[in-house]
């Protein structure tokens, strides 16, 4: 049994073309999964369905064997946390400490235990020196790390990153990616991203288009389907584009160049 089982899932917003049109999905415990898709392909909607922020019209979501519905949503949210794209839209506390504590307070954690957890997870994201600061004064990368600490404190099995680095500068992206990488194999991670270099490192890549899963598999299996990727309005890795051109040419050292580009893509 997979940790996450999505069967025949449908959803449509009232006033928009965006939708999820019959998604089936299996994600195993400990997997690092990247979901790719152009803006409007349904990937963020799927994420919101998974954490019960939206209610599906049809189909089912099972997380750790529990079917997601009105009665189980609170229990499921202990198992699955989400970090959103905009670092400014997810703060409730006046200080970093308050903010990390928010989820714990809601779960009625004892005070001394709470202190321990805040210390542990703020250290894990290297924000322990910032506990008394106002989140407003932090950089984007720092804000996202605080958000991650707040989620980690609840100790969910699954964390979804919904384009969590899209609004950050390169320094912030580096800081957040470092934290995400440190969580690999400890947590089940679903990263919704446009970053192909991140997707290359995943255990599984899922490509969405028009609300459907159009490709799913290991990175090298998925990235071979250049036509489907193009039809899904996705970018192709530069090294793959060059590889395609080299493949159709008669240059010298052709096989050597191809091998080098292939190795470069998959960093073998």
């Amino acid at each position: 049994m997979s940790l996450i089982e999505v069967r025949n899932l449908y959803f449509r917003y009232n006033s928009s073309d965006r939708a999820v049109n019959g998604v089936n999905l299996d994600i195993d415990k400990g997997e690092f999964v990247c979901i790719l898709g152009h803006n409007g392909s349904g990937k963020s909607t799927l994420a919101k369905l998974l954490v019960g922020l939206l209610e599906a019209r049809k189909g089912s979501i099972k997380i750790d064997g529990i079917e997601l519905n009105e009665d189980s949503v609170d229990e499921i949210r202990k198992k699955i946390g989400i970090v959103f794209q905009n670092p400014d839209n997810q703060f409730v506390g006046i200080t970093v400490k308050d903010d990390i504590a928010f989820g714990l307070e809601n779960r009625k954690v004892e005070k001394h235990e709470m202190e321990e957890l805040i210390d542990k997870y703020s250290t894990m994201v290297r924000m322990n020196e910032f506990l008394d600061r106002n989140p407003e004064d932090l950089s984007g990368g720092e804000k996202q790390r605080v958000a991650i600490a707040g989620i980690l404190a609840i100790n969910p099995e699954i964390i979804i990153f919904d384009e969590a680095t899209a609004m950050l500068d390169p320094k912030g992206v580096g800081e957040v990616m470092e934290v995400i990488n440190s969580l690999k194999s400890k947590k089940t991670i679903i990263s919704i991203t446009h970053n192909l270099n991140e997707a290359i490192m995943a255990d599984k890549v899922i490509v969405m288009n028009e609300g459907k899963v159009v490709l799913s598999g290991k990175p090298n299996e998925v990235f071979e389907n250049i036509e489907i990727l193009k039809n899904s309005k996705l970018d192709i890795l530069d090294s793959m584009k060059l590889l395609e051109k080299v493949d159709n040419s008669n240059i010298n050292l052709k096989e050597e160049v191809k091998t080098a580009l292939w190795e470069l893509t998959y960093q073998k």
Binding site: N39, K245, S249, V257
Partner: protein, 313 residues
């Protein structure tokens, strides 16, 4: 013609007579035609401050900015002088000094230099796309019908005519950003400044927007200034790059020379474009003499073909 900054400084009062310079001793000449400039540098290096000084949203603490445009067949000069906390505005028209009220002069100045902030879609507020695009020209032209005409023209040019009657809030991120940019363009600025225009867009929407900026630059001869962290964008689109470091201009010149300048790249922690990295890797692995400073796939392949092509046994 263009924008001239000489010895421009902007300082913030931190605490008790302690000043911190956001930008320091900036000397810069920007033409009001045909330039495509990328401003790069760390977060906090002064990029956003610099572009806000350009259209006078921020007033320099020291220094002098002169801006020269053609307006109704007249040369119009805007001189923005700063000395300490006192700021003097003077506009000279046909070399005759005329003093306007500051507010009037700024409005005219901002018509020439359009500034698109980061995440401009957050500033959309009208009920329909048409009304939102019209908002700028309505203020500048003071004529509802003319403003509407301009808005429709711009929408056609940007391929968003089918969106005009829709509510901006029903659109995708990429479409919303286009609408926000259309709103600035509708006032017909000669210089368009965009702060991180591609952040948060998917690859297709990003390319679409950049190709449009290229069109504005090459066909309409507008000067485009973008702030960006994305070296792929710098490589493929910029004609000139300005590197800021701790508020100072560390480099101003061609992108090739910038990428070859190890000191600049290291100090400012700049990355290389993806294609440059790939070519550098091939050069090393295969021990071939490649020029690695190519910025799109076609040029990269041509370079491979030049070195490894059939006539090169």
């Amino acid at each position: 013609m263009g924008i001239n900054l000489s010895e421009v400084n902007l300082a913030y009062l931190k605490e008790k007579k302690q000043y911190k310079y956001a930008i320091k001793d900036i000397n810069l000449r920007i033409d009001n035609e045909d330039e495509f400039i990328a401003i790069v540098g760390h977060t906090g290096s002064g990029k956003s401050t610099l572009v806000q000084v350009l259209n006078n949203l921020l007033v320099p603490t020291f220094g002098h900015i002169s801006i020269n445009f053609r307006e109704n067949n007249n040369d119009v000069y805007y001189n923005i002088k700063a000395s300490g906390k006192k700021v003097k505005y003077a506009i000279s028209k046909d070399n005759i000094n005329v003093k306007y009220k500051a507010r009037v002069s700024l409005k005219a100045l901002r018509k020439h230099i359009g500034l698109v902030f980061q995440f401009p879609e957050y500033q959309i507020f009208e009920e329909t796309v048409l009304k939102d695009i019209m908002f700028g020209p309505k203020n500048f032209l003071r004529d509802e019908n003319k403003a509407k005409e301009e808005a429709i023209k711009i929408a056609e040019m940007m391929n968003i005519s089918d969106l005009l009657d829709k509510s901006p809030f029903m659109l995708s991120g990429g479409q919303m950003r286009k609408v926000a940019i259309a709103g600035i363009l509708a006032s017909k600025p000669e210089v368009l400044v965009l702060d991180e225009p591609t952040v948060g867009l998917d690859p297709i929407a990003k390319r679409d927007l950049l190709e449009f900026l290229k069109y504005l630059n090459e066909v309409e001869h507008k000067t485009i200034i973008i702030i960006t962290h994305d070296m792929d964008v710098v490589g493929e689109y910029a004609k000139r790059t300005i590197v800021l470091n701790k508020g100072c201009i560390m480099y101003d010149g061609s992108k090739d020379e910038m990428f070859k300048n190890d000191e600049v790249i290291k100090t400012c922690n700049l990355n290389y474009p993806n294609i440059v990295k790939i070519l550098a890797n091939l050069k090393k692995k295969l021990n071939i003499d490649l020029d690695i400073y190519k910025y799109n796939i076609d040029d990269a392949f041509k370079e491979l073909n030049r070195v490894l092509g059939d006539n090169h046994e």
